[in-house]
């Protein structure tokens, strides 16, 4: 049972990781590409971390919860990275399919 759960989590996590990357590959402009990794990968890695927590809680005498910390870090940092990247892209005026509001052009 646990093994199935683990396997499911692992496959899901890996799939989302891949989907995030696919977004990076397939979407037509930078701002759209930004969506893929920032969201999908957080969940992907999140699933893997849960899998890891379960696995190590099972295989050692104590609970393994330190994976929570990685998730915490990621949930804080990934959006900030995305925000900064978007900001930089707006600054550089990279090609965008969406109409860029004039407010960005200070």
């Amino acid at each position: 049972m646990q093994e199935y759960l683990l396997s499911f989590l692992i496959i899901t996590g890996a799939s989302f990781t891949l989907i995030g990357a696919l977004g990076l590959a397939r979407l037509p402009d930078f701002f759209m590409r930004l969506h893929g990794p920032t969201k999908a990968t957080t969940l992907g890695v999140g699933c893997l971390l849960i899998a890891s927590a379960i696995y190590f809680s099972m295989h050692s005498e104590q609970f393994s919860l330190h994976e929570v910390l990685i998730s915490m870090f990621l949930f804080i940092t990934a959006p900030v990275s995305a925000h900064l990247l978007a900001k930089a892209a707006l600054h550089l005026q990279v090609r965008s399919l969406a109409k860029v509001p004039k407010e960005t052009q200070d």
């Binding site: 940092t77 900030v80 925000h83 900064l84 600054h91 200070d106």
Partner: protein, 845 residues
């Protein structure tokens, strides 16, 4: 005495006498040395002191040049002599003269005889101004007169022939000796005499005559019959006497008239008849006129020349040549007297001459008297000549007769021919001068010497410039090429296979992917390296791949370190890139590119093969010791960490010192360093207005305590799990860098200790003191200890002294990284605030 009056009062007499004493001492040393090395030392000292003496009037151009020329030539000889003597010492097994002289046969039969002979003769010939090294002597004439006189007629140049005489028993008696010594002597004799005739400078004439006479003596040694040696030694004595007197006379003339130009000097007889008389006697002796000492030795010389060559086919050549040389000798002697003391009136003399002071003449008078006495009663030199010859020959004294009159033999006739011919030549001198001027192609030694030296200087400069273009690219290229060649050579001709016998791991797709990704990225960086910012982004990926390799192959500690270092390095590079051109310029030169590419590729293949070769070979290592002892004796489970802080803690101490020095060095470099960054990015876009993105700032505050917690975690567990002081230090630094990124320099700076130096120092101190602590307990430096404290309630708590050491590491890393980063950030602040955003706008409008 003579010198005292000759030199004017303004000259620094003390210095002059010091040099003179040094010189005389060395000469004496040469004469008395019983050991060839000792002899050599004195020999070189004469060269040096003669340099000092000649250049005494260093304000004069010719004095400086002459001195340097003399030093160069005699120095060359001295070095040759050193070589010759060492070889000689090796052959005979001793540097002791008596031993060497006794083992003449051994020397002559030895394979090294020729080099020894050549080297020693080179030494002797340069010193004695033999052809083709004769030219330095006239050029050394710029020295003060008494010095020249003493130096050149009596002593210095005689050192060479003295050496010939001294080593005669050991070296002579072979065909090489005869041809070399005799040949050089003959040429020198002829050339010296010929040039002497055409000199217009009194001292120049005397110098060339000295050369000629030295050639004569050398020739005598070259003839190498016992009697020739006797004649040679006898002529040494005679020449010393008459030439010294003539030099002093010339000095008097110079002193009294202010010139030494023979064409200016005329009819001095009426002003200074006494000096004239002295000069006549000296010259006559020099010309070999009967009744004077020069005649007798010359006579012996003629005789020996005939004896020696009578069994050769070209026997007539030598006597003819020497007769011709003597003819010229007679001619220049006559010229010395006639042109100076008679021959009309003096023209344009700088001073009106008069008889010199009494004290100046006395030494000359004594010398001249000696000329006469020996000339008429040659036997009085017997007490000197005898022992000298014996020591030179190392054989019983041959029978010889020193007499004024030997009868009407060939030698006598040769003397007569020379005397008459000399007179004839002098009378026809005007024609000869014209002839000389015609053939004078300036091919004298001095010109050649100067040409050679000029070539040496200019070609050296050019060659040095060519070799050392002061180009970093060339230096590095040469270094890599050199290392590559050296690294490859052992494999040439080696028959062992590159691939070893060790089983290899199977490949998996993920590793292949990551490595190929890294390789492609690396190559892309090379291709786009001029787009610097993009190159930096890509470098990050390579670093990540390297970290993954560390992870894959069981090195978690390394992966952690690599990751942290990577980021800090990128931050550093970004900080620096701001002040550098964003875009590299295209480097021109296909040749350079292809050359570099070729070298890099070969080196890459080399590194690959080397790695492959090692990786496929089994090896026996000392690793098991560490894994066995780490826990029981090092007190830690993380073997890598125990190695770092314990087994090889000394390395780590060095490593953090490197980091500290780097920080200090960088800090020192920032001193007075001013740079201005661009006001626009590379696409001429203005910088964004937002210096402190709010979202980032907020979360950076939040992340700081979290990161510090992680750092503490990594630090404390390092001894047993992956981690340790260095990584913890970097995490701390990165957390603080984050504050810089988010909040800017000024804001962050004000919240940090102003001075990082004490921090670095404390860290180092902690590490060192931990090490020294063990010394107090009688253990070696850095011996560690650890205890498990079973504290009530709290439980097992391990404390290893090595962990304190790691704390020191941590502090140093934090201090050093922050010092570097803070200062890099401050670089910008040090500038006037001209690139304010508002200013930019103003400027744009």
């Amino acid at each position: 005495i003579y010198a005292r009056f000759y030199l004017s009062a303004r000259d620094d007499l003390g210095r002059f006498y010091a040099y003179l004493m040094l010189f005389m001492g060395s000469m004496l040393g040469i004469a008395l040395s019983e050991n060839i090395i000792q002899l050599l030392i004195f020999w070189e000292l004469t060269s040096v002191s003669s340099f000092l003496l000649i250049s005494y009037w260093h304000q004069r151009e010719e004095a400086r040049n002459g001195a340097r020329m003399a030093l160069t030539i005699t120095g060359l000889g001295g070095l040759a002599l050193l070589g010759g003597f060492i070889l000689l010492g090796e052959v005979t097994g001793s540097y002791n003269l008596s031993v060497i002289l006794a083992s003449g046969n051994m020397v002559r039969e030895h394979v090294l005889y020729q080099p020894i002979l050549l080297l020693i003769l080179l030494g002797a010939f340069t010193k004695s101004a033999q052809f083709p090294f004769h030219f330095w002597l006239p050029n050394a004439m710029a020295a003060p007169t008494p010095v020249s006189a003493y130096l050149h007629s009596a002593t210095m140049v005689k050192a060479g022939v003295f050496l010939l005489a001294r080593l005669f028993p050991a070296l002579s008696g072979t065909a090489e000796w005869s041809w070399l010594v005799g040949g050089v002597g003959l040429i020198t004799l002829a050339i010296g005499a010929y040039f002497a005739l055409f000199q217009h400078d009194l001292k120049g004439m005397l110098a060339y005559s000295t050369i000629s006479h030295l050639g004569l003596i050398t020739l005598l040694f070259g003839i190498a019959t016992p009697l020739a040696v006797v004649a040679g030694i006898f002529h040494i004595i005679n020449h010393a006497i008459f030439k010294a007197s003539l030099f002093m006379t010339a000095g008097i003339i110079d002193h009294e008239t202010g010139t030494r130009n023979i064409r200016q000097l005329n009819g001095l007889w009426q002003y200074m008849p006494h000096t004239g008389l002295l000069a006549i006697i000296g010259s006559a002796s020099m010309a070999g006129v009967p009744l004077f000492n020069g005649f007798i030795s010359k006579e012996m010389f003629f005789a020996e020349a005939i004896t020696r060559t009578s069994d050769l086919q070209l026997w007539w050549l030598l006597p003819v040549a020497i007769t011709l040389a003597s003819t010229f000798a007679v001619a220049y002697s006559i010229r010395f007297i006639h042109d100076v003391f008679f021959n009309g009136q003096a023209k344009n003399l700088p001073q009106t001459p008069q008889e010199p002071m009494r004290w100046m003449k006395i030494p000359v008078e004594i010398l001249v008297a000696l000329c006469l006495i020996i000339g008429i009663f040659p036997l009085i030199v017997q007490p000197i000549l005898g022992p000298a010859t014996v020591s030179a020959l190392q054989a019983p004294l041959p029978e010889y007769s020193l007499a004024l009159w030997h009868g009407l033999n060939a030698a006598f006739w040769m003397s007569i021919i020379a005397l008459l011919g000399g007179g004839l030549v002098y009378i026809c001198r005007e024609h000869l001068f014209k002839f000389h001027d015609c053939i004078d192609v300036n091919l004298d030694g001095k010109t050649i010497y100067n040409f050679i030296l000029d070539c040496l200087y200019s070609s050296s400069t050019r060659l040095t410039g060519l070799l050392n273009t002061n180009s970093l690219q060339n230096m590095l290229f040469v270094f890599f090429l050199f290392a590559l060649i050296l690294g490859i050579t052992p494999f040439i001709g080696s028959d062992s296979a590159i691939t070893g016998t060790r089983a290899i791991l199977s490949l998996d797709a993920l590793s292949l992917l990551v490595v190929i990704g890294a390789i492609t990225t690396a190559i892309s960086v090379v291709i786009i390296h001029r787009r610097r910012f993009v190159a930096l982004i890509m470098i990050g990926a390579v670093g990540l791949a390297v970290a993954l390799v560390f992870v894959k192959f069981s090195a978690p500690d390394l992966a952690l370190t690599q990751l942290s270092v990577e980021v800090v390095t990128i931050v550093l590079l970004l900080l620096a890139l701001y002040f550098l051109p964003q875009q590299g310029q295209l480097e021109i030169g296909v040749l350079r590119h292809s050359k570099d590419l070729l070298l890099a590729s070969v080196a890459g293949v080399g590194a690959t093969l080397l790695t492959w070769a090692v990786l496929t070979r089994p090896y026996e290592n000392i690793a098991s010791y560490f894994t066995e002892k780490s826990l029981p004796e090092g007190g830690g489970k993380n073997v890598v960490n125990v190695i770092l802080v314990d087994f090889r803690g000394y390395d780590t101490l060095g490593e953090i010192t490197v980091l500290a020095i780097a920080a200090l060095g960088i800090y020192a470099m920032f001193d007075r360093l001013r740079l201005s960054g661009p006001t626009h990015d590379q696409d001429h876009r203005e910088w964004n207005w937002d210096t402190k993105p709010l979202v980032m700032a907020t979360f950076s505050h939040l992340l700081l305590p979290l990161s510090l917690l992680v750092a503490a975690f990594i630090l404390l567990r390092g001894h047993n799990q992956p981690g340790g002081g260095f990584i913890a230090g970097l995490i701390t630094s990165v957390a603080i860098i984050m504050q810089y990124l988010a909040n800017g320099n000024t804001w962050t700076q004000s919240r940090l200790p102003a001075n990082m130096h004490p921090l670095i120092a404390s860290g180092l101190l902690i590490a060192v003191l931990t090490g020294i602590g063990s010394c107090f307990f009688g253990y070696p430096f850095l011996s560690s200890t650890f205890t498990h404290m079973y504290w009530p309630i709290i439980g097992d708590f391990e404390l290893a002294s090595a962990m304190i050491f790691d704390l020191g590491v941590y502090i140093v890393v934090v201090g050093a990284t922050l010092l570097i980063l803070i200062n890099l950030g401050l670089l910008h602040q040090a500038l006037p605030k001209s690139k304010n955003i508002k200013d930019q706008h103003l400027w744009k409008r």
